[in-house]
Symmetry: C2
Subunit: 714 residues, 2 copies
Amino acid sequence: MIFLQDNVLLKRNLTHDDIKPRLLGPGHGAPAILASLWLEGSLEKFYPDYSRNAEGLRNLISTFSTTAGLPSHINAETPGAIHEGGELGYALAVSFGAVMDNPDLIVACVVGDGEAESGPTATSWHAIKYIDPAESGAVLPILHLNGFKISERTIFGCMDDRELISLFTGYGYQVRIVQDLNDIDTDLHRSMTWAVDEIHKIQQAARSGKPILKPRWPLLILRTPKGWTGPKKLHGKFIEGSFHSHQVPLPKAKKDKEELQALHEWLSSYGPNELFKENGDIIDEIKSIIPSEDSKKLGQRVEAYKAYAPPNLPDWRHFAIDKGSQESAMRVTGKLIDEVFQLNPHRVRLFSPDELESNKLSAALDRTGRNFQWDQFSNARGGRVIEVLSEHMCQGFLQGYTLTGRTGIFPSYESFLGIIHTMMVQYAKFIKMALETMWHRDVASINYIETSTWTRQEHNGFSHQNPSFIGAVLKLKPSAARVYLPPDANTFLTTLHHCLKSKNYINLMVGSKQPTPVYLTPEEAESHCRAGASIWRFCSTDNGLDPDVVLVGIGVEVMFEVITAAAILRKRCPELRVRVINVTDLMILENEGAHPHALTTEAFDNLFTYDKPIHFNYHGYATELQGLLSGRPRLDRVTINGYMEEGSTTTPFDMMLVNKTSRFHVAQAALRGAARRNESVRIRQQELYTELNHNIAETKKYIIENRKGKFACA
Amino acid sequence: MIFLQDNVLLKRNLTHDDIKPRLLGPGHGAPAILASLWLEGSLEKFYPDYSRNAEGLRNLISTFSTTAGLPSHINAETPGAIHEGGELGYALAVSFGAVMDNPDLIVACVVGDGEAESGPTATSWHAIKYIDPAESGAVLPILHLNGFKISERTIFGCMDDRELISLFTGYGYQVRIVQDLNDIDTDLHRSMTWAVDEIHKIQQAARSGKPILKPRWPLLILRTPKGWTGPKKLHGKFIEGSFHSHQVPLPKAKKDKEELQALHEWLSSYGPNELFKENGDIIDEIKSIIPSEDSKKLGQRVEAYKAYAPPNLPDWRHFAIDKGSQESAMRVTGKLIDEVFQLNPHRVRLFSPDELESNKLSAALDRTGRNFQWDQFSNARGGRVIEVLSEHMCQGFLQGYTLTGRTGIFPSYESFLGIIHTMMVQYAKFIKMALETMWHRDVASINYIETSTWTRQEHNGFSHQNPSFIGAVLKLKPSAARVYLPPDANTFLTTLHHCLKSKNYINLMVGSKQPTPVYLTPEEAESHCRAGASIWRFCSTDNGLDPDVVLVGIGVEVMFEVITAAAILRKRCPELRVRVINVTDLMILENEGAHPHALTTEAFDNLFTYDKPIHFNYHGYATELQGLLSGRPRLDRVTINGYMEEGSTTTPFDMMLVNKTSRFHVAQAALRGAARRNESVRIRQQELYTELNHNIAETKKYIIENRKGKFACA
């Protein structure tokens, strides 16, 4: 596949013309999988050009790793794939997510030397401890060591058998090393059979009500030389067993006679004449081991591409809170999730880094448990919740669970969700590409809940203040990205309900765990969220009619400041007509046509006025809004305050002050905007502006005085 | 510290008034460290209010975890700190970075149950394999298990001794478990003494020229009950030994009599009368164990705050390339780094995820090696390069190395640097806060080189195409963030030279590893980079005088497209006067005053013209430029194309086409901009515009035809 553009069955001696002009791969190892998929007919099913005959094989090989063919690593175009390995570290966690609640599924997960060095992999070996063998299937990890990365020895490749057995026994496995190079097929076959037997023993015990305490799941370690069965030496240098066999072992085969000859010998050594019939069909002995049922073929497992069923959802209004009261959005969200668990016993899970209690979502545990199997005292069985202090594992589980047709929720402290930023982006790329193929069908969206946000992490300090995950989602293709900042408990409930129904998106919901005012009835909340943004008449002048200035809040605490600023202005500068808007769906701001949710220019102007000053008080970084709004007309009337990377261990209100999102700052922004156009405001403004400055200064002074011990000096 | 605002030495019975109004911490465990720092006088040295007497102790305790005092976890304000633990997982890697090239330093690194579950920690245990005991110091890891996270049992807490010993023996350690609850002090003391002896044995062997093969470094596992020595039970529930002792074990002590009484008994059990003299001074027995030399005190280790010395740098012009030739910027950068290693034998290191060879930086290895100790065949000793396939370890090493006064470089594939996005942000927060204190002095900048960018990852496909780390740096405080996209080899050299000299920044340099044209002489390169942006006269009409339209390239390949577009326009639409600009320092675009590098409005207008159309062809996401430019006047004349999350396995030029950054798209943008203002262009434009559309369509057609096999259908 790497080399040939013609003569793929070696019917004649190779010539330089048979070699592709650019030799790429297989650092990422796709050829073995693609060959299997071609053999079993799964490629042909979805890509008719890759038919199971001589012509299809020629098409497959000659186009491999060119613009016309499949790439050098397994990606979303590959039938049966639920994970793209471009960014290393996540294969194990994704595999474990896939087998959860799939009791009959065994996923064999091959981890190479390189991936094994990554942190996410290093912790994911522990994932067996979150698998209940009564309800879930099993992962058979196969650590495949060839000793080298691109150009350096590897950690695991340099560990001896005793070290490896000790390490993985410590992780909780029973280990078997596969390394009989004289007959690796038999060794691997026997080892796989042993492993599957061990898996079945563990499962049968659990399913017959007599679970094994700390069951020792099997793990295989396969040791083979790098570039094994390839050319041994080239130009006097070792190729097999060295990093020189990484990617393309004979890079000059197109021009160099010695390399071409070595290639011919290498490929001939596989005996194509014995594997293929004269007409290019494969021999019957091979055919006989291909499963006859499509659903048992590697590339046609139903779980991998068409297992999605929407979750059963309760009416969220049962959990709604009376308008005018105070409520933690997370507390009611926990209750909604609890009910969703009840309605979907084996199709919805929650993954979280040990913050459920802290995030006030503990009602989610009212009728289920945490599925941690290694605690011999708790005897945890079942349980819809996994709390492990590895965001990488949470995200990997979520991906595997979602891509096999189920629905997951990932709540997190706001500042730590960025840990899996690139995983989320890779997942979004996978989904984008999967949906462009003919083989992949819908999956659930992945659903993030961010809480414990910077606005109320004043006590945990600067390291806990980071809303940058919003920006990461905003950079995705508009077809995938959804970001919501519901301003209260009822709007959060309807948003989560909506997200759990949705498909193929990356949903990010940002909300507060603290009790905050409930502004809207359930009906109002639903219609507000459906619109994505609306005028909040109750805190606007004259219901927001004919305003001098528009104040917009996006986010819980910053919206509260907007409402308070409007109240200050109503009292102290009544001639200033203020329209207050809340935006709950960030995507409505994008230019008309740039996102499915984007407001038309007309709707935008109706909401925000045609030309009046607009001040946004935003939960995230101002640059995100600037990016979203870019291209909208008349932007010189827009000002934005948002999180500006200022914080410490301080008071909640100081967080507003130092990031200039406080009520005083909002009121000043309104005055500044309006005064440019309105003489009567301009006159009043001086006085009030000065007073607001005074308020800011006094509050800061109070905080600084209380801090006198801190930055004293040496 | 958690509870008391008065009566801190328990001179009388506690009353509710002695209790703070808001009880916070110590989930993050700062009190133990702060108490030690107070005891040894390191707090007093930098914060005179925390003097080592009764008043200072009262100040420390009563303000702890309030806005007036130190926070509930160790952060950059803490004397001696080189790591803030808010985001978990990095303590080990940072510790190992700190001891590299510090042969006499031993860092004791305590890892708790929670941190131990994180991926970065799970792989960082392997870091001993990158420590050469001849040249570096040692880390003594102490895994402290109390069995619980916030509200759930932990993986490591539920492992029995055999599992733990097996696991860490497999990692390569010799393990000692410390768990004698009857006399933990003696047990820990003996264990520490043993560990330090073992460390010295390993070091002495290596330093006497007889290194031990695969030395077994010591590791301690300390097992104590959660909340040990705290209240045993409260309201009939177990506190000690359960998750209820997390953070605040007696949350209602301010109001509840039973809790207040329990608190009094608890605190009295430590016997303050026996530890303090009548005047509040500590007893001599305690004083006697405090080191007399300041530099041996925990909070005054020189390495932690004033060890920085600038690296010796060669004249980068020695490596410069002739203008007009083709060169890989990475190839020459490798040579410059090689020379920097020579000039700084123990003060500069490079950390990279096994991509040095692939990134064409291998000249960095010309006179040094990879410092991997576990390969018994290579006998690697010394070596300035660590290649480990864990970006988390690379970043942790870099942080520890830099914060102890040395200088590091972190090259990476562009798309995978985002893996450590949040670590970089946390580090930037640490530096920002450290420099606001009186105790911390300058450190080197941390230096990232991004190459193998999306523009030339056409062969590796969509998963390798992600420039989002630029945006992560842009969101930092302007005082810290520096982003450079040098357009050729010479500009890259001078940029790296500049970055290695700089202090306290996060430097991100983005460049190509492919041979690309060298546009500028060394002198021109230096003056271009000093300005951050300039008019490129050689590809502009009339040297860029009096243009109709301004074309701006930011990034290597997209700049090449701009230059080519200008050539097309010169030929096919000569009446259109084009000014071509390259921006190499992204920060010059920010609004005047918003960043130290930002151009004044006058300089901006001189460069980009007062009101002519400007088209940016940008390497990153358009929204990043929109954010930077926001606030600059007359933005409606600006259009931006950049990476728009489109890609696949394809050709380099197709990457330009699908992201609309190709020469054709740039030329069209120029025509669109100019035609709005210039009649003669408008007439010519129709024809050329159509032709460019034709070019785009034909090129795409060619690519699509070559792809016919791909998206055929089921």
